[in-house]
């Protein structure tokens, strides 16, 4: 049976809820309502008057090749970030789980990058790969490869993917390691006695038992790649070259605050809102229904 705390009156519970409600209202509901309202107008650049266009901003966006390209860029970017960061984190977690000596030091080191802010991580990678002063790009030059992510769209995409994944590996690593340690040791031993060697055991026993963690991370990482990588992209490529790394969130910023097209920017925010909503629904559904063995 659940233990329930019963309050005497109604004032205290509402008072306790108030801070959370206030924060959500001021930082989510109000701006979201503003965005929905503004998405129906085209304001002039100085904000003096606004022309009502109904769904005009949306219908323009959905036929705009640049916006559709940005959708594709976002899909590629978030797909790559999710796969790279999760695969590396899982591999590191498996290795850290096997280590007996000095495992504490390894774990601490692997968790550190999580403390680095995305923008700082972006600058860090930018300095290493900068075509003018970067150490890595200089060595690549020595090896005969002319690295220039300022001009080459694929290199730019590669660099923002690597930088974004790098700061995400720690988070995924923590969850995978906890998941691995939650698997009963005797099950692994039973599989060993049944004749399965390490990787066979991994694919037939460990990975299936890890699936709730993997699914949770999949959703959380996609959301991360969609929304929290702004700092990395802004510092490294600013969405370039030729919009090759302009993901949806970055386009909201550049159209709205750089291009001063506030109506379109608001409409894009609304579309993103729907995408987040859908992802959150999926996430909660499956977290609620976590597989119990």
């Amino acid at each position: 049976m659940d233990k329930r705390v019963t309050f005497g009156g109604w004032t205290l519970p509402y008072l306790l809820l108030l801070p959370q409600v206030a924060v959500t209202a001021v930082f989510f509901f109000w701006p979201a309502a503003q965005a929905i309202y503004q998405s129906a107008f085209i304001p002039d650049p100085f904000g003096l008057k606004a022309l009502f266009v109904g769904f005009g901003n949306f219908s323009f966006l959905l036929t705009d090749p640049f916006y559709l390209a940005s959708f594709k860029t976002t899909a590629v970017f978030s797909g790559l970030v999710t796969i790279v960061s999760m695969a590396l984190a899982l591999w590191l977690a498996i290795m850290a789980d096997r280590i007996i000596k000095g495992s504490g030091a390894y774990r601490t080191l692997l968790i550190w990058p999580y403390a680095v802010a995305p923008a700082v991580a972006g600058v860090l990678w930018l300095f290493m790969f900068s075509p003018n002063v970067g150490l890595v790009s200089w060595y690549l030059g020595v090896l005969g490869y002319d690295w220039n992510h300022v001009l080459n769209p694929n290199e730019a995409m590669g660099l923002v993917v690597v930088a974004s994944s790098w700061s995400r590996i720690s988070y995924n690593f923590l969850f995978f390691l906890a998941g691995l340690q939650a698997i009963p040791k005797s099950v692994i031993e039973a599989a060993a006695i049944d004749g399965a060697h390490f990787w066979r055991r991994f694919w037939t026993i460990v990975f299936p038992l890890l699936s709730p963690v993997t699914f949770f991370l999949l959703v959380v990482n996609v959301v991360y790649a969609f929304f929290e990588t702004f700092g990395v992209i802004h510092t490294i490529t600013s969405g370039g070259p030729q919009q090759a790394t302009t993901i949806l969130v970055y386009k909201v910023y550049s159209d709205g605050f750089v291009g001063q097209d506030l109506g379109s920017s608001a409409a894009q925010s609304v579309i993103l809102l729907l995408v987040v909503g859908a992802l959150t629904v999926i996430q909660f559904r499956y977290i609620e229904r976590r597989v119990h063995y």
Partner: protein, 355 residues
Amino acid sequence: MATISLKSVRKSFARTEVIHGVDIDIEDREFIVIVGPSGCGKSTLLRMVAGLETVTSGDVHIDGKRVNDMEPMDRNIAMVFQNYALYPHMSVFDNMAYGLKIARTPKPEIEERVRATAKLLELEPFLARKPRQLSGGQRQRVAMGRAIVRRPAVFLFDEPLSNLDAKLRVQMRLEIKALQRQLGVTSLYVTHDQVEAMTLADRMIVMNAGEADQVGTPMEVYKDPRTAFVAGFIGSPPMNFLPATTFAPGGGNDGLLKGLTANPAAAGNNRPTIGIRPEHLRLCDGADGRLSGTLQYSEILGAESLIHLVLGDGVMLTVRQSGNAAVPEVGEKCHVTFDDADVCFFDSDGKRIAG
């Protein structure tokens, strides 16, 4: 199908030695039970035979081959774990077929062997179910089935019945014994339950703090314990121990022992202990009594009664008698007698000495 031999097997974790040299030769088809209290190293010993723990020194041979450096999968063994260790995401069928699939057994043969094993264990209706949909007893059977289906040379059991309720435990105990006889597979079985050990074992190894105190058939161990530890561990209620101060040859005072012919103290053993089993003690009249004390409490179990006396010097003594015999009241003065032949003597280190 296989013999097992352990030759001065030792195990250390870091600098702590937990098993101090165990020797035993197990014959083909023999059922060996390793019994001892928690922390005595019995599971560690089993895990070394399984290959789940490294052997610090000494040799483990299975079927004449030295297996110290072999992986568990190369030893041709099967193990049943205390928590069953079933694969939670696989059906009962897949749980049993897992080892066969890895061994690349042809599909029709896997099907046939799993079905035959399921029939043997009455698991046929549950083959499609997941472990979480089964009761404790059924899970236990699946764990057994997973071991049997592979037809290994050796079965290893690590307290397989401890998670079951008392009634089911008795039933499964009989089934395990019958199955082992039927299949004729050499078995090594770890338990802390001396009743399980007595009923299952062809021979048992009584472990105490990392040493094998005694190896022998259940009756040998019971009748002729080598150490005070074995005497106290095997048998329920345990053997009574009377310290040296309790008996003085020819003495007759309250709480003192009368008329013991042998006297190990005279043979140069200082502070010997006398051991005598509860069923070898009888209540009697004051005149015949060799020990006397006050009845502190009694346990009437139906078929038998246990009478707990406190002797004059504070030592507790348990008498076991038939349920038909009269039980005195609490606080009553009781007199006890026994035959000299039923007495064991132990020296101050707990080793058995001739009386």
